[in-house]
């Protein structure tokens, strides 16, 4: 099978617009959490979130007009706008703008979302109830369904290869990158634009996730302290929004055009818990099998893993189960491994989490810096693994593992490494 490398990165996150802006704030230990002011929250159990900082584009604010015409933005939910921005940045970063028919056909898109246009579905439901079916916009459906992120990106950039979408809750972004890599390995495409996008910061989604008892509710007065993976006071995740998208490319294709190569996607593992709709299996077996499959596919020894970007959502159960599963995979090598949860800074971006975190993992290789786990004041369990509390640290990183686990017991792990020619 063909080798696959990462040649372009793009993201919109609660820490700002663009990869470099987000990354520098992440390394500085900034938090993207704040009290929600965009809508009424007084009756909600969770009144905080990690929202995209909108603005004119200066100082890392997100200016959607740079990526999509205002009249087009009006027709879609924000997850599609975020996907357009992150995909546009990733393609620019990769220097890939296919113009010939052959290049366009060789380039595909695989962008997923956990729940897609839930905000727009809520609004249209209210319209249907109050004004009837004749007031439902013709753009209601194409602006809300999940694969329209891939559709819009393909239309904007003329990408005529495989056009696909993943929907696996919080594993979406990782599955999208893994599946897209396989399409390239098997020769269905030479280049894939892959990742996840999500826009769940609205009343309905906050109410729904709070009902699942998944959200933090004890830090409404102190939002930046709410997301605290592995800390004994953690009480749930903080909702985030945004998109993370990479350009994946066949190694030979990238070399032939002289593209900059960030890392190689060497391992991808998938598994199902077959246990519960929202709770991870108590033995952590699904996570263990998923990571093991990725490590096996990568053909590495677990002791080679330098950095793990954890799923680590800051929920009471999930964090410790993942930690135990990681310890089981690493064995005695746990003592030399570092693992952090960047959800402590940007919150949980659901379907975009896996791809945003895969990008952070790639940047850890590029810069030799590990992003921190914020708010880790008192770990709830002892571990030999360095959880990178509070502050970023320097470390040479050659091999990374990025974990994502979703509702339904769906797990995905990616292994990426510095390219060795």
């Amino acid at each position: 099978m063909r080798r696959v490398v990462v040649t372009g990165l793009g993201m919109v996150t609660p820490l700002g617009s663009g990869v470099e802006h987000t990354w520098s704030r992440l390394i500085a230990g900034d938090s993207g959490a704040s009290k929600v002011t965009a809508f009424e929250t007084e009756d909600l159990a969770c009144r905080i979130a990690c929202s995209i900082p909108l603005g004119d584009g200066r100082e890392g604010t997100f200016n959607p007009d740079r990526w999509m015409e205002p009249k087009e933005q009006r027709k879609v939910d924000p997850f599609i706008v975020y996907a357009m921005a992150a995909a546009g940045e990733a393609l620019e970063d990769a220097g890939w703008a296919p113009k010939t028919d052959a290049d366009q056909v060789a380039t595909g898109v695989l962008i997923g979302s956990g729940i897609g246009g839930i905000g727009g579905i809520y609004d249209a439901s209210v319209t249907l109830h109050e004004k009837g079916p004749r007031r439902i916009s013709p753009f209601f459906i194409p602006g809300r369904i999940i694969n329209l992120a891939s559709g819009q990106v393909s239309i904007a950039h003329g990408l005529k290869g495989p056009n696909h979408a993943v929907v696996t809750a919080c594993s979406t972004g990782a599955h999208a990158i893994g599946d897209a890599a396989r399409l390239i390995m098997l020769g269905d495409a030479d280049v894939m634009v892959a990742g996840g996008a999500e826009s769940p910061v609205n009343r309905l989604a906050l109410a729904g996730f709070a009902a699942c008892r998944a959200l933090s509710t004890g830090f409404n007065a102190d939002p930046t302290r709410a997301s605290r993976p592995y800390d004994k006071d953690r009480d749930g995740f903080v909702m985030g929004e945004g998109a993370g998208i990479v350009v994946l490319e066949a190694y030979e294709h990238a070399r032939a055009r002289g593209a900059r190569i960030y890392a190689e996607v060497v391992g991808y593992g998938l598994s199902g818990d077959a246990y519960h709709i929202t709770s991870p299996s108590p033995d952590g077996d699904g996570a263990y099998r998923c990571m093991s499959a990725a490590v096996k596919r990568a053909g590495i020894d677990p002791s080679e893993i330098d950095y793990i970007n954890a799923h680590g959502t800051s929920t009471p159960m999930g964090d410790e189960l993942e930690l135990k599963a990681v310890e089981r995979v690493l064995g005695p090598a746990a003592a030399r491994a570092s693992m952090s949860s960047t959800k402590s800074a940007i919150g949980h971006l659901l379907g975009a989490a896996g791809s945003v975190e895969a990008i952070f993992s790639v940047l850890a290789i590029r810069d030799g810096v590990l992003p921190p786990t914020l708010n880790l004041d008192n770990p709830s369990v002892e571990t030999a693994i360095d959880l990178v509390p509070h502050e970023a640290k320097r470390k040479r990183v050659d091999v990374v593992l990025s974990n994502s686990f979703g509702f339904g017991g769906t797990n995905a792990s990616l292994v990426m490494r510095r390219v060795v020619d």
Binding site: E69, P70, K71, R134, R135, S137, P138, F139, P142
Partner: protein, 78 residues
């Protein structure tokens, strides 16, 4: 320009994101103002909402220019 024509123009500018000076009586929504078939459906809905009228599908199909819309609405709105 009549009050109705002004209101029609405002809706067209808003929904199609076009320059106001392009929204003239003879401008065809699709050929001149860049609308697609879904845009025209939404435009008709916006006219219905603004003028509190119901525009049946067969009538909607005859509304292809700014002038068509103004004429229909002058005749049918209260």
């Amino acid at each position: 320009m009549s009050d109705i024509a002004e209101r029609v123009k405002k809706i067209v500018v808003e929904h199609l994101g076009v320059e106001p000076e392009k929204v003239v009586e003879g401008a065809n929504f699709i050929d001149d103002l860049g609308a697609d078939s879904l845009d025209t459906v939404e435009l008709v809905m916006a006219f219905e909402e603004e003028f509190n009228v119901e525009i049946p599908d067969d009538a909607a199909e005859t509304i292809q220019t700014v002038g068509d819309a103004v004429k229909f609405l002058e005749k049918n709105s209260a």
